[in-house]
């Protein structure tokens, strides 16, 4: 029963227009970053050829020119700002719709509440994670068509943005593909949970648009709370905003495992409580 229900929910989550729209918008934003990065790579390389000097191959690599490898282009700024919308848009609102139209009654009586809420949680998690990661992978692959995947050298750490105290910096300078995979996994999990946060919100709100927008406001609150939290020296070393620490290179402070794990666990506990415990204990009208 659980397998069948998960398959059904995943089918509904991944084969709907809003999932496709989210992927298309995400990929379109990453193309802005692609155009910029390929442009500066070609300009810089042309300049070096003219000067007939050190080409600095290791300073110009795929790993610091894809959307996750640089923190300054417009495409990167937009993508890592709107991603909470992109991950909640595919299916985070679905429970709201099913509750409103009464479909939840039909499904729950056939499957049981536990199976229904669990399968919905899994489907929303997957849709959110994929909506984040697919445009990033798309950008990585398209950038790789123009810029060689040279293993970066720590000598050029000012070009790469990954310093000795950065998260997984050893991995970045030794096995950069693995570093990218690790970051994609972190982004997948965290964004899956953000989509589930939207699902949790639908336990209280009746408006689908609010359910999709609220995770963005939640992350913005966390993002701007850095302004006053950074007055503490202990915190100033660590990036607490997901809008920054989900980027594989630091835009501000360094990402830390402690912050990532704590925020992931808090998000997991909140979303599981709201969707699997709180809502499950309620009657269905």
């Amino acid at each position: 029963m659980l397998k069948r229900m998960i398959r059904l929910e995943v089918h509904k989550a991944l084969r709907n227009k809003l999932f496709y729209a989210s992927i298309i918008v995400g990929c379109a934003i990453t193309i802005i970053a692609l155009i910029y990065n390929v442009g500066i790579y070609q300009d810089a390389f042309a300049m070096m050829n003219i000067a007939d000097g050190n080409p600095e191959y290791e300073g110009f690599s795929l790993f610091n020119h894809w959307i996750g490898g640089e923190p300054f282009s417009l495409g990167t700024a937009i993508y890592f700002f709107v991603f909470p919308l992109l991950v909640a848009m595919p299916y985070g609102w679905s429970y709201c719709e099913e509750k409103q139209c009464g479909y939840v009654k039909e499904a729950v009586v056939r499957s049981g509440k536990k199976v229904y809420f669990l399968s919905k949680y899994i489907a929303i998690f997957l849709s959110g994670g994929l909506a984040m990661v697919i445009p990033l992978v798309f950008n990585f692959l398209t950038t790789a068509m123009f810029i060689p995947a040279v293993v970066p050298s720590p000598v050029y750490c000012t070009s790469t943005g990954v310093f000795f105290n950065s998260l997984m910096s050893m991995l970045y300078y030794s096995m950069p593909f693995l570093y990218v995979l690790f970051y994609l996994a972190i982004d997948f999990v965290f964004c899956g949970l953000i989509a589930c946060f939207s699902y949790g919100v639908t336990c209280f709100v009746r408006n689908r648009a609010i359910a999709v927008i609220l995770p963005l406001f939640f992350l913005l609150a966390l993002h701007y709370s850095r302004q006053f939290l950074f007055t503490s020296y202990d915190i100033s070393n660590r990036e607490i905003s997901p809008m920054y620490f989900l980027r594989p290179v630091s835009a501000w402070a360094q990402a830390s495992w402690t912050v990532i794990i704590v925020e992931t666990v808090v998000l997991f506990v909140i979303t599981v409580f709201l969707s699997m415990i709180w809502e499950r204990s309620h009657e269905i009208y």
């Binding site: 227009k17 056939r110 049981g112 009657e283």
Partner: protein
């Protein structure tokens, strides 16, 4: 053998008593009618039997298994409560096929046959949100009966239906009774209710005020 026992069920929502000490026993192969004005507790009683809401006092049991204690929901039940409840972005067939896929108790062919039985076209690609009220109602009835459940609960099944639709519903209900299902219906048309029901429970302000035998029992 299916038997529903409603034992002294009382339901309080905030301070309102929507069901008061309701007691009834229902058996398979019979049609039970719920009669009453709006707000008399018909739909709330149906929700309680389905297991969607929990009684504040008393209990409902199916074959001796108490809902909410021994079982979460009745094991074999089909229902149409108030308005048909489907996803607007899918066709009628897709909606029913997805629901049938949860328990796998109805095959794709059975789903198609049931849609045909209620007078709709299973090949119709039209999205559910574009259906007329009558078509939605027919699809709701199809969802309730497609898995041939032991218990069929239909709340106002003739709503939005034309004469041919009402005739169809009557036939469907009698067919459900013939195959041994326990059927519970509510209807504002007392004539239809009396024509179809073996027993009628008349409700008022959440209480059963009268228990009468219908014409079909005579």
């Amino acid at each position: 053998m299916v038997q529903i026992e409603i034992n002294n069920v009382t339901k309080r929502i905030h301070k309102n008593l929507v069901l008061q000490d309701v007691t009834a026993v229902m058996h398979e192969g019979r049609i039970y009618g719920l009669q009453g004005v709006n707000g008399s507790g018909k739909t709330m009683l149906m929700r309680t039997i389905i297991g969607l809401i929990r009684p504040s006092e008393g209990n409902v049991s199916i074959n001796g298994k108490i809902i909410g204690k021994d079982i979460e929901f009745p094991e074999s039940i089909g229902f149409l409560l108030e308005n048909p409840a489907f996803l607007g972005r899918y066709s009628g067939f897709d909606n029913l096929n997805m629901l049938a896929g949860i328990r796998k108790t109805a095959t794709v062919e059975q789903v198609r046959d049931t849609i045909r039985l209620v007078g709709l076209d299973p090949g119709d690609k039209k999205k559910y949100r574009k259906y007329s009220l009558g078509m939605k109602q027919r699809l709701g009835i199809a969802a309730a009966i497609m898995e041939e459940p032991d218990i069929v609960i239909l709340d106002e099944p003739t709503n939005a239906l034309d004469e041919s639709g009402i005739y169809l519903v009557k036939n469907i209900l009698l067919r459900q009774k013939e195959r041994g299902a326990l059927v519970i219906i509510s209807c504002h048309d007392i004539g239809i209710l009396r024509e179809l029901s073996d027993e009628i429970f008349k409700l008022d302000t959440g209480r059963i005020i009268e228990h009468i035998c219908g014409e079909s029992d005579a």
